[in-house]
Amino acid sequence: MATEPETPEDALAVEPAVPSLVFHYFTCWYKADVKGKPCEDHCILQHSNRICVITLAGSHVVLQSGKAIKRISYQISTNCSRLQNKVSRKFKLGAQILTELSPLCKIYCSDGEEYTMSSCVRGQLMEVNESILHKPSILQEKPSTEGYTAVVLPKFEESKSITEWVLTQKQYDEVVVKRINATTATS
């Protein structure tokens, strides 16, 4: 029988969420089971200047299940495409406004399953990552760097209160370990 996993990384066998020194300027925040969907975990990388990069957490189904991604789309509704986001000049006018539950993109897997990524953060959408449209596998190969989904600029007043509705690294690790233990126990 396998030994109990020490850390979520051991359990999940993914690269640590902080793969390089780039992240000594970023703090990792997490949202687990976004919109109540099990294991749809997101990781928010917040820079010291308050800008947030929305990425898939290592424990997200899409990264864990080994399924192939067929395509990714930023067309989140009939009338709204995140690709149409136009941000002008220094004051970021014209950006699409996001709430925590605003959809960012849809991930279509080859087994027919569909996953939606959510903003997790309130603020203005700065940009979405277009390279994952051309090469969806990047999302799985480098989820925390080149495979990022979106960049969001929270309102200045809210940038500190972001911590109220997300998990810290430590809290996230506990959630993941608990989840693994629950699965192991029932299997």
């Binding site: 780039v22 820079h47 200047n49 308050r50 002008s88 760097t145 080149e146």
Partner: protein, 444 residues
């Protein structure tokens, strides 16, 4: 009018022709009338007390706006009288009151302060007169030309000199005469001075600085009123200048800038400091050299060279450098994968590499979102160990080096990570040279 009697007249004229000053002429003629003398000395006292160093000055005098109305009335009367003698007189044929006033007072000022009056002087003394007794003399103009007197935001009264002049140019002679006596009535009191201000135009000091600390911002780093890091490049240089030039404040600018954790080596980075309202402006080149030495002795975090006085126009060279000139850097790079010398050699052969950089995330909060194309002209690698190498680069101005190394989430393409197919990050960065040949190098 000056109370010289008819008898005094030719005496006064004779004395004037010998170059005798007006003050002495009056004294000689036994005139005991201090009013014309009062002004210059009151102003002179203030100028002397202000502590400015100056070799010339420019005088700005502001008369009360209603004086223009009275002058206009006098002019209409003169025109009328000349007309009676079939002589025509243009407005420009008469001497403006202000001109006459300057002719009389400028020599008085000059003599008392010991310097010439020069319209191009940087040292300005401004004097504002008021005459409360006749303040309402110009109010009738508003009824006749209301659009000349629109209330402006910061002005206390709409009856500014400009507005009054505009109305006087518009108003018809008959309408004016109906409302205002020609000649004007004689007031009881003379004008009084309500404001005397002295100010010296800015002077500029330029030089080049080296930065040896990896913990020093260029400008003070203050968040929510709290200083995050001790001091700054600009303060370490400018504070000394502020003291010696006795200036009110300064504006620091440089040909680009580096991050807190980046050193500036080589010849250093050009900078220029505008010293606002300096009280002391004359320095020998020896004194400037000593000032440079003083700055260099006071800190080992920065060093300054080629310190010199420059003109405002010269600043343009420096800003030109920021956008057009190349820079060279040296970076210490870490790689996650083990590397051998052969893995980095190919970088030496890449010339004029075009890269596209989206606005780095670390500055996106204060810079517009855009993509900038930049050129990495050349690179030189120096192998350190399996996970480290040094990279020297020569790049176009405005290139974000850190992002070229770690890729900034793939938002700078290509980057070292993509070129080498590794995960790389930058541990240390130094500016080796800023290729701007300004300010001129001084021999020490």
């Amino acid at each position: 009018m000056f109370p010289l009697t008819v008898e005094n007249k030719h005496v006064a004229q004779l004395l004037l022709s010998t170059g005798t000053c007006p003050r002495c002429i009056f004294r000689f003629c036994g005139v005991d009338f201090h009013a014309p003398y009062k002004l210059p000395y009151e102003v002179c006292q203030k100028v002397e007390a202000s502590g400015f160093e100056f070799t010339n000055l420019v005088l700005s005098i502001s008369f009360p706006p209603q004086l223009s109305v009275r002058e206009h009335a006098a002019w209409l009367l003169v025109k009328q009288e000349m007309g009676k003698q079939s002589l025509s007189l243009g407005r420009n044929d008469t001497v403006q009151l202000k001109e006459a006033y300057k002719w009389i007072t400028h020599p008085l000022f000059s003599e008392e302060l010991g310097v010439p009056i020069d319209g191009k002087s940087l040292f300005e003394v401004s004097v504002v007169f008021a005459h409360p007794e006749t303040v309402e003399d110009c109010h009738f103009l508003r009824a006749i030309c209301p659009d000349c007197f629109k209330p402006a935001k910061n002005k206390q009264s709409v009856f500014t000199r400009m507005a009054v002049m505009k109305a006087l140019n518009k108003i018809k002679e008959e309408d004016f005469r109906k409302q205002f006596p020609c000649p004007p009535n004689s007031p009881k009191a003379v004008c009084s001075v309500v404001e005397i201000e002295c100010a010296h135009g800015a002077v500029f000091v330029a030089g080049r600085y080296n930065k040896y600390s990896r913990n020093l911002p260029q400008t003070p780093w203050i968040i929510d009123g709290e200083r995050k890091l001790d001091s700054s490049v600009e303060e370490l240089i400018s504070d000394h200048l502020l003291t010696v030039f006795k200036a009110d404040s300064f504006n620091f600018s440089s040909s680009g800038r580096e991050d807190v954790d980046v050193r500036t080596l080589g010849n250093g980075r050009p900078f220029a400091i505008e010293l606002v309202n300096p009280h002391r402006v004359h320095f020998t080149s020896q004194e400037i050299k000593e000032l440079q030495q003083k700055i260099n002795n006071s800190s080992n975090k920065i060093q300054v060279r080629d310190l010199q006085l420059v003109t405002r126009e010269a600043i343009g060279h420096m800003k030109e450098g920021e956008e057009e000139k190349t820079k060279t850097y040296s970076a210490l790079i870490w790689t996650n994968k083990a590397i051998q010398r052969k893995d980095i050699e190919f970088l030496d052969d890449i010339k004029d590499l075009k890269i596209d950089q989206k606005t780095p995330l670390r500055v996106l909060h204060r810079r517009p979102l855009a993509v900038r194309t930049r050129i990495i002209h050349s690179m030189e690698t120096h192998y350190v160990d399996e996970h480290h190498f040094r990279l020297s680069l020569k790049t176009q101005a405005g290139t974000y080096i850190k992002e070229f190394v770690h890729g900034d989430f793939g938002r700078t393409k290509p980057n070292i990570c993509s070129l080498m197919d590794v995960t790389a990050d930058i541990l240390e960065l130094d500016v080796e040279s800023v290729d701007v040949d300004w300010p001129p190098a001084l021999d020490d």
